[in-house]
C-alpha cells in the first residue's frame, strides 16, 4: 500500500511553537524536526545540516524555519551607537527628537546589511534546503514578529537581563528591522522560486508585534497559540498545493 506523503517542517527554535500546538492531539500529516534537538542532523559550528540523513521521499511539501533570529540579534537591545532608519509612512523610526542623537542608517543600507550578515548562515541553509528538496512544494515559514512590548521584555528578560541595561531598542525601530529582515527573506524566496508563509495577521497587535496571548515567556519566542495558527497556515498551504 502506497504510503501517504507528509509535510515536513524543519528548523530551529521557532518550530517548537508548532510542535507544542500539535502535541495535544495526534498528528500524522506533518513531521517536525527541531535541529537544535538533533545533534546528529545539524552542526551549529559549521552551519551544516546533514541533509542525506533526511529521507526526502517521505515528504510532499517542505517548510523551512531555519535560524530566523537575526532581527532580534540586531534589534532587541539598543545598539551602543543608537541609530534610526527610514519608514514608508512614518518618515523615520524612531522619530528623531531634539533630545535624541541617533545616526541615520537609510533603510536600504540597513536591509543590505541584514542580507550581508545572514547570507552565510540563514540564507545559506535555505539555499542548501532547496538544493536538496527542490523548489516544488517548498516554502519558507517566516519568523514570528518581534515582541514589541517593553513590559513583557522587562518581565521576561531571560539571558538578556544583563544586556538590557543598555536599553531596549524602541519598538517602532524593532518593528521596522523585522520588516526589512522579512524583505530579505522574501527576496531570497523569490530568487529560489519557492513559497513564503508570512506571520499570521491574527497573531499581531496594532503595532505589528506579537500579541500578548501569542508570546512565550521570553523576549523573542512565540507560544503554542501562535504555533497553532502557523500549523493551520501550513495545512492550508499543503491543501492548496496538493
Amino acid at each position: 500500500m502506497k504510503r501517504q506523503k507528509k509535510a515536513l517542517l524543519i528548523g530551529m527554535s521557532h518550530v517548537v511553537a508548532v510542535q507544542k500546538s500539535l502535541a495535544k492531539q495526534p498528528f500524522d500529516w506533518i513531521d517536525i524536526i527541531d535541529l537544535n534537538a538533533r545533534e546528529n542532523l545539524f552542526n551549529n559550528n559549521t552551519n551544516k545540516i546533514y541533509w542525506s540523513k533526511i529521507d526526502k521521499s517521505y515528504y510532499s511539501n517542505v517548510f523551512l524555519s531555519l535560524r530566523g533570529q537575526y532581527h532580534n540579534v540586531m534589534g532587541l537591545v539598543e545598539n551602543p551607537v543608537p541609530f534610526s532608519t527610514g519608514e514608508c509612512e512614518k518618515g523615520l523610526v524612531p522619530a528623531v527628537s531634539s533630545a535624541e542623537s541617533r545616526i541615520l542608517i537609510p533603510s536600504q543600507v540597513l536591509q543590505d546589511h541584514i542580507d550581508n550578515e545572514i547570507s552565510d548562515l540563514q540564507l545559506a541553509l535555505i539555499d542548501q534546503a532547496v538544493e536538496y528538496f527542490g523548489q516544488h512544494g517548498t516554502a519558507i515559514v517566516n519568523s514570528p514578529p518581534p515582541i514589541l512590548s517593553e513590559k513583557h521584555i522587562l518581565e521576561h528578560p531571560g539571558i538578556f537581563r544583563a544586556k538590557l541595561r543598555n536599553g531596549i531598542t524602541p519598538s517602532s525601530l524593532r518593528a521596522r528591522i523585522y520588516e526589512l529582515y522579512t524583505n530579505v527573506i522574501e527576496n531570497r524566496a523569490k530568487k529560489l522560486g519557492i513559497g513564503m508563509i508570512y506571520a499570521p495577521e491574527d497573531s499581531r497587535d496594532a503595532d505589528g508585534g506579537l500579541k500578548l496571548e501569542m508570546r512565550s515567556q521570553d523576549p523573542t519566542h512565540a507560544n503554542e497559540n501562535y504555533g497553532a495558527l502557523v500549523a493551520d497556515q501550513i495545512r492550508n498551504w499543503v491543501d492548496r498545493h496538493a
Binding site: S13, D34, N36, M74, P80, D112, E117, I159, F160, H221
Partner: protein, 387 residues
C-alpha cells in the same frame, strides 16, 4: 669650446651671450629643458613623463585631504587612501554596517557622500547648501524609474535601492550636508576635479543636477529643466566662487585643481561627442588655468595631460577609449607622490583610535547578542523536553 652637435641638441644650450649687455642671441636660449618638446624623455619612455614643474606644496602623512569632483576623482580618492594618506572622510556609515555594504552605498568614495560633482557650478551650489547660504526646497525629490523608491536629485545614484520615503531622503541629505561642511571646514588640502561643462538645470531653483532628469529618476519636462553648456567665464566664476566660499570657513586650505581626462559619455549639443569633449575639456582646462593663476594657494595638477598625452600612445585608456586604465592611474599617482610628498606612500596611516574602538565595540555587541540568542533558542528546545 668645440661644438660637435647642433646647438639645440646640446644638454645645456649655450648660445652666444653678450656678457656686456646680458642679451641672448634668441629668447629661447637658457630656458629649462621641460620647455622643449624634443627634450621630453616620455616620447621614448612614456612612464617617465612628469609634467609637474614646480609643486606648490609638500604633503605630510597626516595632511587632511578632501576630494571631490567627477568620476576620475574617485580614482584619486581611492589611491590616496590605499597609499596610506589621510583621505579625510566625514560621512561614514554607521559602525554597525559592514564595509562591503558601506562601499556599495558610496560611503568613503569621496570625503562626503556627494557622489560625482561634474560641474563647477554644481560644486559651488553644494558648498552654498552645506554652509547654509542656500536652502534646498522641501520635497525636492525624484521618484525612481526602476524601483518603488525616492532619489535625491543632487545625487541620484548615491544609494542603490534609493530611499523609502521623501522624509528619509531629506534626513539623510541633512546629515550629508553637515558632513560636507565638516569636510570643507577641516580640509588642509582640497583636490577638485572638473569634469563637464554640459549640465541640466532646474529652472525654478537654478540648481545644477549631475544627471539629466528621467535617466534614473524624475521626469524630464522642458518647462522644468533646461540644458546648459557652461562657458569659460561661467566656469571660472563658479570655480573661483566655490574656492572663496570654502576659504570663508577655512582660510588656510590649499587647493589642487585637476581636469578629468574621461571623455563625455554623451553630448546634448548637435555635434559629435568627441568634438563636444574637446570643447568641454578645453574650457575646463582654461578655467583651471585662469583660476589657479589668480587665486593664492591654488595650483593645477596635470593628470589630464598625463593621461591624454601622445606619449602614452593611448595605452592609458581602456578598450572603450573612455575609461582610464589602471596603468594610467598608476602613472598619475606616481607623479603626484613623487612631486607632492616626501614620505614613502606605502607607510600606512593608522585608522584613528576612535574608529578602531567603535568597531571593536560593535563587534563585541554583535557577538554577545548572537551568543545570547543561541542560548535562548537552545532553552526553547529544552523547554519542549526534546534535548
Amino acid at each position: 669650446m668645440k661644438i660637435t652637435e647642433p646647438l639645440w641638441q646640446t644638454k645645456f644650450v649655450i648660445g652666444w651671450i653678450d656678457m656686456r649687455n646680458n642679451r641672448r642671441s634668441n629668447p629661447y636660449l637658457g630656458l629649462p629643458r621641460y620647455q622643449f618638446w624634443k627634450n621630453e624623455i616620455g616620447a621614448t619612455e612614456p612612464s617617465q613623463f612628469d609634467p609637474v614643474v614646480q609643486p606648490a606644496f609638500k604633503l605630510q602623512k597626516n595632511t587632511k585631504i578632501v576630494t571631490a569632483g567627477s568620476c576620475f576623482a574617485q580614482h584619486l580618492a581611492r589611491r590616496l587612501s590605499e597609499a596610506g594618506f589621510n583621505h579625510l572622510v566625514t560621512e561614514n556609515a554607521h559602525p554597525l554596517v559592514s564595509k562591503d555594504v558601506a562601499t556599495r552605498h558610496n560611503y568613503g568614495v569621496f570625503s562626503a557622500r556627494y557622489g560625482n560633482i561634474y560641474n563647477s557650478l554644481q560644486f559651488l551650489q553644494l558648498v552654498e547648501r552645506a554652509i547654509g547660504q542656500v536652502k534646498t526646497p522641501t520635497g525636492f525629490a525624484w521618484k525612481s524609474n526602476a524601483e518603488n523608491c525616492y532619489l535625491d536629485p543632487f545625487r541620484p545614484q548615491i544609494q542603490p535601492g534609493g530611499y523609502v520615503s521623501i522624509q528619509e531622503m531629506e534626513a539623510d541629505r541633512e546629515a550629508h550636508l553637515s558632513a560636507t561642511l565638516e569636510a570643507i571646514s577641516n580640509a588642509e588640502l582640497f583636490v577638485f576635479t572638473l569634469g563637464l561643462t554640459e549640465a541640466w538645470v532646474h529652472r525654478q531653483t537654478g540648481f545644477v543636477l549631475p544627471l539629466a532628469p528621467g535617466v534614473v529618476g524624475g521626469k524630464y519636462e522642458e518647462s522644468e529643466f533646461e540644458f546648459k553648456n557652461f562657458t569659460l567665464e561661467e566656469t571660472v566664476d563658479s570655480l573661483r566662487g566655490a574656492i572663496r566660499l570654502i576659504r570663508s570657513v577655512n582660510p588656510e586650505v590649499e587647493f589642487l585643481v585637476t581636469v578629468s581626462p574621461v571623455p563625455l559619455n554623451a553630448t546634448y549639443e548637435n555635434r559629435h561627442v568627441f568634438v563636444s569633449t574637446t570643447i568641454s575639456k578645453s574650457v575646463l582646462r582654461l578655467a583651471a588655468e585662469y583660476v589657479c593663476n589668480s587665486e593664492d594657494r591654488c595650483s593645477y595638477f596635470p593628470s589630464y595631460e598625463i593621461i591624454t598625452s601622445p606619449f602614452s600612445r593611448g595605452a592609458y585608456y581602456m578598450s572603450d577609449c573612455r575609461q582610464v586604465a589602471d596603468i594610467g592611474v598608476d602613472h598619475v599617482m606616481r607623479v603626484f607622490f613623487d612631486n607632492y610628498t616626501t614620505e614613502n606612500p606605502s607607510l600606512a596611516v593608522n585608522a584613528s583610535d576612535d574608529r578602531v574602538l567603535v568597531d571593536r565595540v560593535q563587534q563585541s555587541h554583535a557577538i554577545e547578542m548572537q551568543k545570547a540568542i543561541n542560548i535562548l533558542c537552545d532553552e526553547e528546545s529544552i523547554s519542549d523536553g526534546r534535548k
